[in-house]
Amino acid sequence: MLKPEQVRERVRAFLAEHDPAAASRQDFLNARFDAGLAWVHYPEGLGGLGASRALQAVADAEFDAADAPGIDPDRNPIGRGMAAPTILAYGSDEQQRRWLRGIWTGEEVWCQLFSEPGAGSDLAALATRAASDGESWVVTGQKVWTSQAHLARWGLLLARTDPGVEKHAGLTYFACDMTAPGVEVRPLRQLTGEAEFNEVFLTEARIPDSDRIGPVGEGWKVANATLMSERVNIANARSGPRESGMIGPVAAAWRARPELRTPGLHDRLLALWTEAEVARLAGEMLRQQLAAGKPGPEGSAAKLVFARLNQEISAYEMELAAADGLRYDDWTMRRPERSSFFGRSPSFRYLRARGNSIEGGTSEILRNIIAERVLGLPSEPRQDKGVPWKDLPR
């Protein structure tokens, strides 16, 4: 196991050979990846050193201190947070070499082609069909709510390869080239006014078999790796020091503007502050578990709490803002290049937070998962067990 000092030395040696000011941003990031200093816990040759996840902060701090160009965390979050761990777990060596560098540097943005009009919470019921013609797969269907598809070079695609078996068993996982013929992306406007997400129409789009991730028929297993990463990722969207999440601007406003204070708002602020800080500590505990190689089911818990707190705090912030809460910053229909829950105005944050309990698995579904997989409670009676997908009632 590498020690913090050894990581620090490697970064310094790297910086001695690669002047951050001289190279282009992309060249510099490529070289950083090749030196294993991108995500240090990844294996050697794939942007990492096989070091402890906890040492990432050491490497990042060294690069920051040298004013080196870094990655933009609000660009390609699906690539880094979901595609990369999935490819690392289930991709072939060739796929890992082909995709991971572009994901980390942000050169290639990824999106997630899972949800469909008829399959959201019940994702395994999806209908997008992938049929083999020998060398490649021909894909037809419709995906919805696809965040960042308008920026994406690749999509994580879950499709049905066998309609004749139970719904979970007939799925296969692919990387879909978003520039391929037959892939059409149309914006879907959200209640915030902008269009982070899209609908994606797949019309006889061809995917080479070399872009299949994992075995045919095992797409559900691979998809679950993506979903697990997604939850941890959403929950850790803003891990940092005290008051670094949604509570930060609220506490700052409270301190700066004594005229806004009332006893009732004070009580609620203290309760929210405490919960936000306790949730942050739980996030730290989760990170320590991951670093110790003992991932727990707490990822789902963290995502649930994150969603509820974001909603409560942003709602509170509107009340604190009082008259200013009546304003909105911009209703223009745009297709944003970056995604963040924390930017813009209080009223934007309030509206955007409503999505936190829907995206990445709704809070109801996460409670089901905790109840059944963690607590071992029995499932509700179901109508879809033992029935081939094609015979399910629709």
């Binding site: 505990m285 089901n368 109840a371």
Partner: protein, 430 residues
């Protein structure tokens, strides 16, 4: 060091954030404790004891002291203890909380021990004028202890040595509801110095007079640490068996930790600490108590959830297990989430106390505020989801409910701790 330990050390070092995970030693301690309590503190046993003359289980406490060193967990090895930190103390408390075990661990091994450890520094000499009775009291002077050595500190060490093996049990004589400073009283003393009796000066004895109500873990205590008002304030050691000391058990909401009132009528006390050292001792004791109580609350909440889940898997209504009804599943899932958060809060508070982190007052206030609510919620859900059986005297759910509610009021209510945070993190009220 194990590989995992090494990685964690690297992580902690890299980020300067306290390790919140359970160490192997903590896990081993909790396991051993769980198996001992499983034998000797089954719910029926705990329930029966709440209705007996001796609500504290002295035999169990002696076994915990002898077999697991629980009485002296926080006491340094040189004073005969285990030399463990608040982290291990919290891990033990979690397990004790999950059994609602009627032993004076919190009062003696945590609160009184923390007071003595904080009082351990020499107090004689250079710390201001000798103590005097409060102005309203009779003119009184605490007796100077014989000799010129820093007697208070040796006395504290002597006492710790006797406590370490469970031979002596000590309680801090303050109401269980007292919140730690800064928001709680700087020195919670309702007892005053009274005039000396003949011969007191030679024997190093001071006289105490007053009443302290609602004290936890004092019933089984052989000795009391009594904060007394005066100039300056002092902390005295009083023998429970001495003339002038009396106690009366209270019908308590939580009979697994029965409270009592204490009376001091010219009771003889010997000085342990005075002035700043006495204040420091009491503040440290109450803060440690609140942090470790938060860990107990986590254990209690987890136990309530475990009982509820296993009942919900077995109990059938409408031809299916009630645990398959989503309305109930979601309530249990929410509890599980709350407990995960409460655990992080309690672990952080214990870690901050262990390392003397300056964030400790914030950590303790957060932990006590949050864990109190979670424990009460878990116990209430435990009763509700058990239906009629959960409302009976026979079923243990009520033991947990009463303990959870009592603990949430003890050592500062959630609201009082949040009010403390307002000052600590600069979120002032209107």
């Amino acid at each position: 060091m194990s590989e995992v330990g090494e990685r964690l050390a690297a992580g902690a070092q890299a980020e300067g954030f306290p390790d919140l995970l359970y160490s192997d030693a903590e896990r081993a301690l909790a396991d051993a404790l769980r198996s001992l309590l499983g034998d000797r503190a089954a719910p029926a046993t705990v329930l029966a004891r709440t209705e007996s003359a001796q609500t504290y289980d002295d035999g169990l406490w002696q076994a915990l002291a002898a077999d697991l060193g629980l009485a002296g967990l926080l006491i340094p090895e040189r004073d005969g203890g285990a030399g463990a930190s608040y982290r291990e103390a919290a891990a033990a408390a979690e397990t004790l909380g999950s059994f609602a075990a009627p032993v004076p661990y919190l009062g003696s091994a945590v609160v009184a021990t923390a007071a003595l450890l904080a009082a351990g520094a020499p107090v004689r000499g250079g710390l201001g004028p000798p103590p005097q009775a409060a102005p309203s009291a009779q003119p009184a002077q605490p007796a100077e202890p014989a000799g010129s050595s820093p007697r208070a500190s040796t006395e504290a060490a002597d006492l710790l040595r006797k406590m370490a093996d469970g031979g002596v049990t000590v309680a801090l004589a303050v109401p269980f509801a007292t919140q730690p400073a800064p928001r709680g009283p700087a020195f919670p003393a309702t007892v005053r110095l009274a005039g000396p009796r003949h011969g007191d000066t030679d024997s190093g004895v001071s006289r105490l007079r007053g009443t302290v109500t609602g004290v936890a873990d004092a019933l089984p205590a052989g000795l009391l640490l009594v904060p007394a008002d005066g100039v300056p304030e002092c902390l005295y050691l009083v023998d429970m068996a001495a003339d002038g000391v009396s106690k009366a058990p209270l019908a308590s909401l939580d009979m697994t930790r029965q409270l009592c009132d204490l009376w001091f009528d010219d009771a003889p006390g010997t000085l342990v600490a005075s002035g700043q050292a006495a204040k420091r001792a009491v503040t440290a004791a109450l803060a440690a108590g609140a942090a470790i109580l938060a860990a107990e609350q986590v254990g209690l909440a987890q136990r309530c959830l475990d009982m509820t889940v296993s009942y919900a898997r077995e109990r059938r209504q409408f031809a299916r297990p009630i645990g398959s009804f989503q309305a109930l599943k979601h309530r249990m899932a929410d509890l599980w989430v709350e407990i995960a958060l409460a655990r992080a809060a309690a672990r952080y508070a214990a870690a901050c106390l262990s390392s003397g982190d300056p964030d400790a007052p914030v950590a303790v206030a957060m932990a006590k505020a949050y864990c109190s609510q979670v424990a009460v919620h878990a116990a209430q859900e435990c009763v509700q989801l058990h239906g009629g059986i959960g409302f009976t005297w026979e079923h243990p759910a009520h033991l947990y409910l009463k303990r959870a509610k009592a603990d949430s009021l003890a050592l500062g209510t959630p609201d009082a701790h949040r009010a403390a945070l307002a000052g600590l993190v600069n979120l002032p009220g209107p």
